[in-house]
């Protein structure tokens, strides 16, 4: 359950996961945590009570890269325990995620998968920092580090593949957090998800260089 006294005495910044095991050479193959990642961490910290109140048993992050976000969430929710699963299409990212989990004494199972694996159980908290950068369509579909950013037309090609899967994947009370930029047309995403009976809230926003980042929270309409 949520720790009310922690909320009262904030804001202390929850520590960023230890990533010192990842070297320069690793970041040739996996995405190095950047402004978008750190904004995602800040958002999760802000949303901690909301997430804890869902009593999550299964958390899954799509495209976990270095593993920074899932490890952060796991340590943020501790001593509350959940099952943390991650997917990434890039095997270097699967390895890095497990290394980051081990280095921070967090238990994670990393799966090599395209977006979501087929699970018998529904997910309570789904996280995705997608490849949102507008690129030529031909750059989409790589299994390398390019998959971390190449989003195709309007940076929407991967996002648009996931959205129709979200409702079936999430538990009744489940929540889905996703990073986007303005080029992805968040208002259009809202309409798409309204069509699946989901509400969308922009829970964080920031200008980082030429990216106008937003973090979306999607949950079923009441």
């Amino acid at each position: 359950m949520a720790q009310t006294n922690a909320a009262a005495s904030e804001p202390t910044q929850h520590p960023t996961p230890d990533l010192s095991h990842l070297k320069h050479v690793d970041y040739r193959n996996i995405y190095e945590p950047a402004e978008d990642t750190f904004l995602f961490l800040d958002t999760l910290q802000k949303e901690r009570e909301y997430i804890n109140n869902l009593d999550p048993v299964i958390c899954l992050e799509i495209g976990s890269g270095s593993g920074c976000v899932s490890v952060f969430l796991a340590s943020l929710l501790a001593p509350y325990h959940a099952l943390f699963l991650t997917t990434d299409i890039n095997p270097a990212a699967n390895r890095a995620t497990l290394q980051t989990a081990t280095a921070n004494r967090i238990a994670i199972d990393a799966l090599r998968a395209d977006l979501l694996p087929a699970l018998r159980s529904r997910i309570d908290a789904l996280l995705f920092n997608p490849p949102y950068v507008p690129t030529p369509s031909a750059e989409v579909g790589s299994h390398s580090i390019v998959a971390a950013w190449a989003g195709g037309i309007d940076g929407r090609e991967v996002i648009d593949r996931l959205l129709p899967l979200v409702s079936d994947a999430l538990s009744e009370r489940g929540v889905f957090y996703m990073v986007v930029v303005n080029e992805n047309r968040p208002e259009e995403l809202r309409e798409v998800m309204n069509g699946f009976a989901f509400d969308m809230e922009v829970v964080m926003g920031k200008r980082a260089g030429n990216e106008r980042l937003k973090i979306l929270r999607l949950s079923r309409m009441l």
Partner: protein, 122 residues
């Protein structure tokens, strides 16, 4: 990948016969025991998500533990410890997961199951 995750994974080959995509059979497994912190509350919350029969048969086939026929309705601390050991402390390092419905093989290497499919299987 721990046995808890195996307990949830299904085959997702499009042509896999309905109702036969679960469970995936583990073959040629190399296991390792993890030193994971026991949390009774977490194990209790996990129980409703488990397919007990599959956890039981998997644990038996891999020689990890002999679980009772039925999941204890009111689990004792010992029961919870046992489930913790099987589901959360047993990690499959190397193996093949084979779908008994369509025969698709999902390899596990360095603890990471490869759930990717070929284009014609999607």
């Amino acid at each position: 990948m721990r046995l808890i995750t195996h307990n949830m994974l299904q085959c997702h080959v499009k042509a896999c016969p309905p109702g036969q995509s679960y469970p995936l059979q583990i073959r040629n497994a190399e296991l390792e025991a993890l030193d994971a912190e026991f949390n009774a509350d977490f194990v209790r919350r996990l129980i409703p998500k488990l397919d007990w029969k599959v956890l039981r048969s998997t644990a038996f086939e891999l020689g990890v533990a002999q679980l009772p026929e039925e999941c204890p309705a009111e689990p004792t601390e010992d029961d919870l410890q046992m489930i913790h050991k099987v589901a959360l402390q047993t990690r499959v390092k190397e193996a093949e997961m084979v779908c008994s419905g369509c025969g698709h093989v999902y390899p596990i290497k360095d603890g990471v199951p490869n759930m990717l499919l070929q284009d014609h299987e999607i």
